[in-house]
């Protein structure tokens, strides 16, 4: 579907296609959700198989599992403080889900569910609701003082409160769009250069030689995309931690 009559079709890779036959169609189970399940499966395998032997001196798998664990643990305790311990599994799940979504999408024929604004917005909305509920549960009515800082002159309230409110409500938007845009841009680029390889490859004798250039660009792009995959998952997790810190401490 990439080169339909000399045109570059970089967007069809994001199409949702139902899987699992009639059952999947009936419940609207697309390949996106299948990849989500795959990610959950891989995360579970990594954590369970990795820690299976409970070695005092870890092997490779266990070291990987422990590295992820300690990385996110340090992130949460560093950003939220010791009160954040109980939200650590939530942040861990977020980080791993986004990271594996980004990484699985780099494999050929695989689907990147983090390239769908609906998915990233769903995750960001989850973060938004979780942080808001945590703040309300911890501080009750005092939470609304978050939108009007203590000690500010009262006549500024009509300006400050809307601004704070808008900035609070724009969190899920920025969180979701950042991830979505990064993933889409990366995959569109990969697809475009891959199409160049195919188109140039069909140019006769000089084709294969000319096709080497976009191919090498794609090689570099894949490396860059791996970096972006980690980076965006990290950004998602650390912003979640910052929002949780605000929820726990109210500034």
């Amino acid at each position: 579907m990439a080169a339909e009559g000399k045109t570059i079709d970089a967007l069809s890779q994001f199409e949702l296609i139902p899987v699992l036959g009639p059952v999947g169609r009936a419940v609207g189970f697309s390949q996106s959700n299948a990849h989500m399940l795959l990610a959950v499966g891989l995360i579970s395998i990594l954590m369970l198989v990795g820690i299976r032997r409970r070695a005092l001196v870890p092997g490779r798998f266990q070291a990987a599992a422990e590295m992820f664990y300690e990385f996110i643990e340090n992130l949460v305790t560093g950003q939220v403080g010791h009160e954040g311990r109980k939200y650590f599994p939530f942040v861990f799940a977020l980080f791993m889900f986004v990271l594996f979504g980004n990484l699985i999408g780099l494999f050929p024929y695989a689907f990147t569910y983090t390239s769908h604004i609906a998915v990233t917005l769903g995750l960001a909305a989850t973060v938004f609701f979780v942080t808001t509920i945590v703040a309300l549960a911890l501080h009750g009515r005092k939470f609304f003082g978050y939108f009007f800082p203590e000690g500010a002159p009262l006549w500024l309230a009509p300006i400050i409160v809307p601004v704070e409110l808008v900035s609070y409500l724009s969190r899920p938007v920025s969180l979701s769009v950042r991830l979505f845009a990064n993933m889409v841009a990366g995959h569109v680029l990969l697809k475009v250069f891959a199409t160049f390889v195919v188109l140039l490859g069909g140019l006769g004798a000089i084709g294969p030689v000319a096709a080497l250039l976009p191919l090498s660009v794609n090689v570099l792009l894949v490396g860059f995309e791996i970096l972006v995959a980690f980076l965006q998952a990290y950004v998602f997790a650390i912003l979640t931690c910052i929002y949780l810190h605000d929820a726990v401490h109210l500034h």
Partner: protein, 262 residues
């Protein structure tokens, strides 16, 4: 963390090359998603059951049901695909095609699957890791404590050794000093005794000399007196013993003031 050696770098480069090569293969033709079934235009009507062929007609009925189901599924799939293609042809991104029912179901499934992952993390995935890490932390702490204890013990032993060495040295010094002192005292005593003996001998000798001289002096006086008496007698015929002895005494006293009184 991750060692970046040359070999690793080449390996990752090769992996990236493999991935992008495969994505090139994926580029020209996506997977065909055709549901294999005859394209029926209308519901398949089962032919009426022939007499005496009930089972067969039931099979035919089932066949036609299956065909209908496949046809309906095909229609739905085609609708999805057509909708997606329409969206793509319109220049829109499939991600922004919110009319697609798969979009809503995708989010619902996302919440279900992500909820499952969060549940798994809270219940099964993270506690074992926490336990292992805690166990290791305790082991390391215990080992460190043991090492610290051992070091304290070694330091105490070292201090004890140093103490005992110092004590031994002090004792040795003390005994050397005592021996020296004893030797000095002994030699001093011996010297004193010797000096005393010598002094005594000197005194004795002086006394002997004194007596000898006194004896000699006494004898001298007698001789002098006798000689003087004899001389005076011969010269003057007088015998005045008292005067002569006084004169002799005077003379002797003048000659020898030490025994002047004698």
């Amino acid at each position: 963390m991750i060692r970046l050696s040359h070999r690793n770098a080449w390996r990752s480069l090769a992996l990236a090359a493999l991935l992008s090569g495969a994505s090139v293969l994926a580029a020209p033709g996506a997977l065909a998603q055709q549901v294999t079934a005859p394209h029926a235009t209308g519901p398949v009507q089962p032919s009426g059951p022939l007499p005496g062929q009930q089972g067969e007609s039931r099979a035919v009925q089932a066949d036609s049901d299956r065909a209908n189901a496949v046809r309906e599924a095909n229609i739905t799939a085609n609708e999805y695909r057509a909708a997606a293609h329409d969206a793509a042809d319109a220049g829109g991104m499939p991600q922004l095609d919110f009319g697609n029912p798969l979009m809503i179901s995708q989010v619902v499934w996302l919440l279900v699957i992500f909820g499952l992952l969060v549940f798994l993390c809270y219940q099964f995935l993270l506690p074992p890791v926490a336990a292992v890490l805690e166990d290791r932390r305790q082991r390391i702490a215990a080992d460190l404590d043991a090492a610290r204890d051992a070091r304290a013990e070694a330091e105490a032993a070292e201090a004890g050794r140093r103490d005992s060495t110092a004590r031994a040295r002090a004792e040795a010094q003390a005994s050397i000093a005592a021996a020296l002192q004893a030797a000095q005292a002994e030699s001093a005593a011996r010297a004193e005794a010797l000096a005393e003996r010598l002094n005594r001998q000197i005194t004795e000798a002086e006394a002997r000399i004194g007596t000898a001289r006194d004896a000699a002096m006494g004898a001298l006086r007698e001789v002098a007196t006798d000689a003087t008496t004899a001389l005076v007698q011969r010269l003057s015929g007088l015998t005045d013993g008292a005067a002569v002895s006084a004169a002799v005494d005077r003379e002797l006293a003048a000659r020898n003031p030490r025994t002047g009184a004698a």
